[in-house]
Symmetry: C2
Subunit: 400 residues, 2 copies
């Protein structure tokens, strides 16, 4: 008799992307497939100094068990960080630290979702959110997006129809869409949250990675403009894309009862996030190096996004359409099928691997009704020359 696993495992399917990722090991492959920042951007020296200070100034705190809510000096630094991004009414008790923002999603799922509960997500949305919420039995509903993010009129209809447990959005430089919700629609989302008393989760790992003008303030920051909305917003932040994913430091901001329940769940999930990693992150933020680090990654990723956009237009022409991203890590594109060229991104992915370039087809990012012509291209980890060469290989895949 084999082991009998929990029924909830029947709700998830992870093979689609895993099969593709197995091929990434092939020598010489140029990868646009990852969702990683570039390791070469990490401020290793700053993190080394921060970790040393953590072990020198309070070794007990950095190495001992800590509060489930988070290491106090980090909560203080994160509250300052959020204040600097326009969130007015935040103090250290208004947030809890999570083991990366993936854990923030897990805790929100554990805290909020009973089997069968409806949850609205964007179509497309972050793959690991789909699977994370499905493990808690969520019945996902997909809200359509355009270049300005989720379509709020459609979202309102879906909220009325489904009475969801929560609405999950990546409003700024979305993964995989690259889209940014307009300021006007952010206000509309806040009005919907307050009107229908529906929890809206704002996942914001990319908001600091803008290339030119800053994006609109976060939904959380704008909640002060819509009376009664703040208590219906949960905001997930992360150090992963701007500082280091390896620290696994994220956070949730939300109303006190939600944070208390999420903390209780976290107590039995991992007791607390590594205090060593938390103390290192706190020292780093305190050191004042973050603004320079942000300026550096914004410039590097901005140049790469520019290069990829130009290469895609030059090499692929009318075979592909996309909106040039203004931040984040991703292009989201659609194969047009013009001139009888390949329109199925899964098919193109296979051909592209043969030509020596990898990307992720868009289908798995849809909770419902996948658009098979879509694909996601990351420009973060390849330098500009490799981006040019990778896009040329992609063009050869389309032509073949």
């Amino acid at each position: 008799m084999p082991l009998q696993f929990a029924d909830r495992l029947n709700n998830v399917e992870t093979s689609a992307i895993r099969e593709l990722f197995k091929l990434l090991g092939k020598p010489g492959i140029i990868s646009f497939a990852g969702g990683f920042p570039d390791s070469a951007m990490f401020d290793v020296e700053g993190l080394r100094e921060a970790s040393q200070r953590a072990l020198t100034e309070e070794p007990g705190g950095a190495l001992q068990y800590g509060a489930t809510e988070g290491y106090e000096p980090l909560r203080t630094q994160l509250a300052h960080f959020m204040q600097s991004k326009g969130v007015k009414d935040i103090d250290p008790t208004g947030l809890i630290v999570t083991t990366g923002s993936q854990q923030a999603l897990d805790l929100l799922g554990k805290t909020m979702i009973s089997p069968g509960d409806k949850v609205i997500v964007e179509g497309p949305t972050f793959l690991a959110t789909i699977q994370c919420f499905r493990l808690y039995g969520a019945d996902l509903v997909s809200a359509p997006i355009d270049a300005n993010g989720v379509q709020t009129d459609k979202l309102e209809e879906l909220i009325k129809q489904h009475k969801p447990k929560l609405v999950y959005l990546i409003p700024t430089f979305g993964n995989p869409s690259g889209a940014t919700l307009s300021r006007e629609r952010r206000i509309k989302v806040l009005e919907l949250a307050a009107k229908y008393q529906t929890l809206v989760v704002e996942d914001d790992p990319y908001g600091d990675l803008y290339f030119g003008e800053a994006p609109p303030p976060s939904i959380l920051a704008l909640s002060s403009e819509v009376p009664g909305s703040r208590e219906w917003i949960a905001h997930c932040g992360s150090m992963s894309k701007v500082l280091s994913p390896g620290l696994r430091v994220g956070w949730i901001i939300g109303q006190p009862e939600l944070l208390a329940k999420a903390t209780m769940c976290k107590q039995f999930s991992d007791a607390h996030t590594s205090t060593f990693a938390q103390a290192t992150a706190a020292q780093y933020l305190k050191s004042g190096r973050m603004p320079a680090t942000l300026a550096k990654v914004r410039q590097a990723y901005g140049e790469r996004a520019q290069a990829m956009g130009e290469a895609l237009k030059r090499e692929l022409g009318d075979a592909i359409e996309f909106t040039q991203p203004k931040g984040g890590l991703f292009f989201w594109a659609r194969l047009t099928g013009a001139g009888g060229k390949v329109k199925d991104a899964g098919e193109l992915a296979k051909r592209a691997i043969e030509k020596g370039v990898a990307f992720v087809p868009g289908a798995p990012f849809f909770a419902k009704e996948p658009d098979l012509s879509t694909l996601r291209l990351s420009f973060a980890t390849a330098g500009i020359e490799l981006i040019d060469e990778g896009v040329r290989r992609l063009a050869r895949g389309i032509a073949s």
Copy 2:
């Protein structure tokens, strides 16, 4: 309308101990309540060097996203560590790294337990296991223990009666019991696992903390003596009690399919354990400092356990009974009520706080039918003079 949380939160109750812990902030309290190792035991210098080497030798690996299964050099070191403890057939792919062993429990719950499934635990057992498994809907069954650990004849009856999804044991220096399962009973547990094809989870955070003779080999190590048993054993290990809880580094050893499913769940729980913490732990193990660290903590905790045992006998006499622990962090004791003295440990806990000493009453450690006369006393964090003074205060609480 307030937020509507998930139904699973109705399964847990955390107030019993939390109320008590609030009182620990009172100035001058001597605490026997924690489950913490002593911060003064941490090898800060060794960990500082290890973290520096991690950032020097492979900064990308230590700061970037990593494999969900764990950082390869750490898996290699942990496989060596387990081999040194008598586990013969283990290689780096035979274990996955978890965010502390608390996450090992969470992943086992998520992977194995459907709502309503029976799970057998020791009575008493680790409080956070009870709550963790209940969040996944487990119906807990309590198996009685004595000074030699779980009573295997009773355990067999319960397995036959309840057909549990898994059996959870802390066989070595149990929390809270301090008890150690005899070698003979370990073999019996392995026979039961194979005979009834029941997963047995061996949680082993304390096995390295022995004061004199080493305890029997782990159930996992002994599985080579019972044909067909190995695939029914999952073993949870931890760096928390011997090196540093703040790293949040634990691991699960188990059959390949179980590890694959647990890895899938972990992907959506926290993506991976902090690579910075993992790389630091790997460098520490590689440095060869662990044997000296273990020798140091064994000696210090052994002296404290000795001092607490003597003080309890001297100060409390026939008011209390207990078995002198041979390792771990805890005394598990029973109030006898001799001479009309207090027999309810919850009542004593309140009186003790007034006298300036804290401990944890035993009742919350029972999944079913709590023994109200029991209590847990940690000797780990107070020095010998404070142990003596704390026990004198406890005696005044009993006398009052």
